[in-house]
Symmetry: C3
Subunit: 140 residues, 3 copies
C-alpha cells in the first residue's frame, strides 16, 4: 500500500475553464508506482473549482463559461456578500455547484479516464492569482 | 488491505435518470470481503453522470429530468458547441453539475446507504449507447 | 494503514447552510493518528447535502440559500413529486447539485483545508430532524 501527497501550485489563469490533465500528470511521476488505486485532487479555494469534462473541442469550455454566467448571474438583487466585487459571490456558488475535488481511478500507472475526458480548472474570479491543489495518490 | 478494480458496462438506457444500485451490487461480489472501506464509481463519459438520490418514488426521477432540462436548456443562443446536436452541450453541462463519480462507504460487505438512497445513472443524450463505469473498492 | 469509520448524528438545524467543520473535528480524535490520508464524509439523506465553501462571512451562507431557492424554485408546474410538501422536490434537486459527500485530504492529523474553507451542512427541508453522516478516515 502506497500513499503520496503533495501540493501543486497551478499557474494563474484568466476567468474560464482550463484543461490541466497534462500539467497534473507531469508533476506526478509517483503515478507510475501504482497499478491499482485512486487519485484525489482537492482545490484549497472557494472561488475556483475542479471538474472533469470534454477535452477535445475548446468551444465546450467556452460554453461552460457562458452557461455558468447565465445560471449564476452577477449583481442579483438578493446577494448580500458583495464587498469583494460582483464576480465574488457567483464564484462561490459556481465552485459549490461544480465541486472542489475530483477523484479518478488509477490503472497501470495512469489516470484511467475516458477517451474524451480531461480535468478542468474552473477559475471563477476576474483577477485570480495562482491556485493550490492537494493531490493524494493511494494504491498498490 | 484489499483493492478491487473493474470496469462494468451499463446497459444502454433512454435519456433520463435510472436506478443502478442493484445492478452494481450484483456485479460486485468482492464487496463481501470488505468490512470497512470505500467504493468509488467513476463514469468514463462526459455526457452522462452519476448521483445518489431518492430511490422509492419514480416521479422523483421524472422531476429530475424536467428540472435539469429547465435549468440547462437546449438551443441557448450562447452555445457554440452545437455540431453534435441540440442535446449535446446541455449533456456536458448537466454531467458537470451532477458529477462523474460517487463515493460510498462500505460497511459489513454492503454499500452503507441511507434508507431511501440509490445510485442514479443520469443519461443526458437522446440516443446513447452503453456506458462504462470503473469501480474501485478498497478496505479491510 | 489505518481505517476508522463512524456514524455521527448532526444536530437538527433550520433550512439553510451551516458550518460543521469544528463539530466534525471534535468528534474525530482518530484524525491525530493519520499523517497522510483522506477523510470521506457521506450524508445518508436525499434532501440535505454537504459542500465546502467560504467559512468567514455569514452572508455567503445566506446568499447560498437565496440563490439555490432562485435556481431551484418551489411549486414549478412540471413537478410531479409534490405529496411531501413544496420544499421536498427542490430539496432532492439541491442535494444532487451540491452533492452528498465531501472528501478532504488529511495532513499531519488535520483536515488539510484552505484558509477560508469550511464544511457546510446544507439543509434543504423546512422542518428536518437530525441528520446522520458516515465518516470514513483512512491513511497512515
Amino acid at each position: 500500500m502506497k500513499w503520496y501527497q503533495k501540493e501543486i501550485r497551478l499557474p494563474a489563469v484568466k476567468r474560464g475553464f482550463h484543461l490541466i490533465t497534462d500539467l497534473l500528470e507531469a508533476q506526478l511521476p509517483e503515478l507510475e508506482d501504482i497499478e491499482v488505486g485512486l487519485a484525489h485532487v482537492f482545490i484549497k479555494h472557494t472561488s475556483a473549482s475542479l471538474t472533469i469534462n470534454e477535452d477535445a473541442d475548446p468551444t465546450v469550455r467556452q460554453d461552460f463559461e457562458s452557461h455558468f454566467n447565465h445560471m449564476v448571474p452577477e449583481n442579483q438583487s438578493y446577494y448580500r456578500h458583495t464587498l469583494e466585487g460582483s464576480d465574488d459571490m457567483p464564484a462561490h456558488l459556481k465552485a459549490a455547484i461544480l465541486g472542489n475535488s475530483v477523484t479518478m481511478p488509477i490503472t497501470n500507472g495512469r489516470f484511467n479516464l475516458g477517451t474524451w475526458q480531461g480535468v478542468y480548472l474552473c477559475e471563477h474570479r476576474d483577477y485570480a492569482s495562482k491556485r493550490t491543489v492537494v493531490v493524494t495518490l493511494q494504491g498498490q
